[in-house]
Symmetry: C2
């Protein structure tokens, strides 16, 4: 019997479903409250309702909220109450803001990605895409405004989040969303249609396109709880592994699932002649690779020195074993 | 003789041309240095060169840089060297980052605004627009990545800008760019084509569409220099007035100038049946209104309690008396 198998599983006694229920309740309520038309403090100007409607349509009532869950699980893992109850309340508020901010960035990327000049998709989360419902200009502006709102959520001026935390969160999110993160990955993706990518280039594309924001989610949560440098390092490895695993599983589901289950158009990548893990490694090879990435993620948690990693471990398992 | 006319003019002995030359040199060099493909610290991933090329095309070698100049003039006005030389160097670095960040937001808004689903313009600053040169998807992503890069510039992780300053700058910029600022104004503008707006609604649209970012520029500069609350209040009034004046003059130039002088398509607003100050107040009425706004801006500077407002005063004058 090895040491590893003798150790208790990461999530012994942990009820993911219940944990998720609590977190998602907070996230949905916060998004509902924060994606609204409020008068600007200085000018009194309000966001036009049409724009807010498109933003809310893009964000509310849909989506797995994986990124917010990773933020809050990263927060739980790194959180200790050494600062006392006040510090706990303040850092948890910061984590909830971070969770929503990451989701807004994710939502904006989907809105723009679905537009006719990009993937030209009409179905998302089982609903008409934003440009189908609000027009292309409406979708373009809603996406732009969602990105700005993400940074607005991270910088409340009511003293509820410490400036040091605000600055760190904005920096992490900006880097993950930008040209060497998500937007860069989208650009590589566009340029790669019809081309053969080797595993290294496929991995680099996904590290940017999907991985950057997933990794950033975990780190933002940990940042709110003032995690140590060594813990952050372990969480980066965890985040990188599940970021990649997420995409591998996405590619697997694109060929093994149907549109109704996925809530989006299945078989699309193959139709668009996009390189995928399945086209590169085959179905079985991709499944094995996803399992290896899960092991990597769990092993990073083992080495993190953090005690409360049950939610992160359970989420990693969920990412790899999901069916949609 | 009134006190006002007896007082020395705001810019007595001030050489705007020379001041601008120094500031623009720094801004152009900084943009050249900061809008590049650098490997991400964590993943080693680089921004794809195509994307960076489109971003650089949108930002470099063009534009009046009015917003960066306002940031740096706001900084000059509020700056005092009470903190000693080190604090001065640090705050000036912050102001230069803020100047470039605002310009990136402005540049991204032009890229998206020119796209076929919005204004469908092919000429900007005398050059082909970004989507004409890089395709629609390329323009969409370049704009998205420019917005993220703005927040990245504001949050360096090298200790060169204090976290308190970073947080304040991100908050100001996010609010000015978002749904109750620039993006909101664009949405109102789109919805107003072919409709008659009264003066109040036209003003509100422009306060958001153009005014928010111009006002924000002045405040971001002042924030870097830790301006007092009363000084910030006066600068808000200044920024609001010249923000509006800028748009009034834009509307005037749209009917009195030609495409070659403007570097963009003239007569476009009338062609698109958009409400303008000229259609509302007539040409002469608009010119008088612009002058009144200039007086408002200068009078706010008088009351700001700040000594070094020569650059702000000269820029206000330039905004109102420009020919393109």
């Amino acid at each position: 019997m090895t040491l590893r198998s003798a150790a208790p599983p990461h999530n012994a006694g942990f009820d993911l479903k219940q944990w998720m229920q609590v977190q998602l309740h907070d996230v949905e309520r916060a998004l509902e409250e924060w994606v609204v038309s409020k008068p600007d403090v200085a000018t009194g100007c309000r966001a036009p309702q049409d724009l807010i409607n498109a933003m809310r349509y893009a964000v509310l009532d849909g989506g797995k909220r994986l990124r917010p869950l990773l933020v809050l699980a990263g927060y739980d893992a790194a959180q200790n109450q050494a600062g006392g109850q006040d510090a706990f309340v303040q850092s948890r508020v910061a984590a909830l803001r971070a969770a929503c901010a990451v989701e807004l960035i994710h939502a904006y990327s989907l809105v723009h990605d679905d537009m006719p000049c990009m993937d030209n998709d009409v179905l998302r989360r089982g609903k008409a895409t934003v440009h189908v419902k609000f027009g292309e200009a409406g979708a373009l502006l809603a996406g732009d405004a969602l990105q700005a709102l993400a940074f607005e959520l991270l910088t409340p001026d009511d003293g509820s989040v410490a400036p040091l935390t605000q600055a760190g969160l904005c920096g992490l999110l900006a880097r993950a969303a930008g040209s060497s993160g998500m937007a860069g990955g989208q650009a590589i993706d566009l340029a790669s249609v019809g081309r053969v990518l080797d595993e290294q280039h496929l991995r680099e594309m996904h590290q940017q396109k999907t991985g950057a924001l997933l990794r950033c989610s975990v780190l933002m949560g940990a940042h709110c709880a003032s995690a140590s440098a060594s813990a952050l390092h372990a969480l980066e490895i965890y985040g990188g592994a599940i970021g990649l695993a997420f995409q591998v599983v996405d590619d697997i589901l694109d060929v093994t699932s149907d549109s109704a289950t996925l809530g989006k158009t299945a078989g699309k990548d193959a139709d668009n002649d996009k390189p995928t893990y399945v086209s590169l490694m085959g179905l079985q090879g991709s499944q094995q690779y996803a399992k290896r990435l899960l092991d990597q993620a769990l092993s990073a948690l083992d080495q993190s020195g953090l005690n409360n990693t049950a939610a992160l471990a359970a989420l990693a398992d969920m990412v790899v074993n999901r069916t949609h």
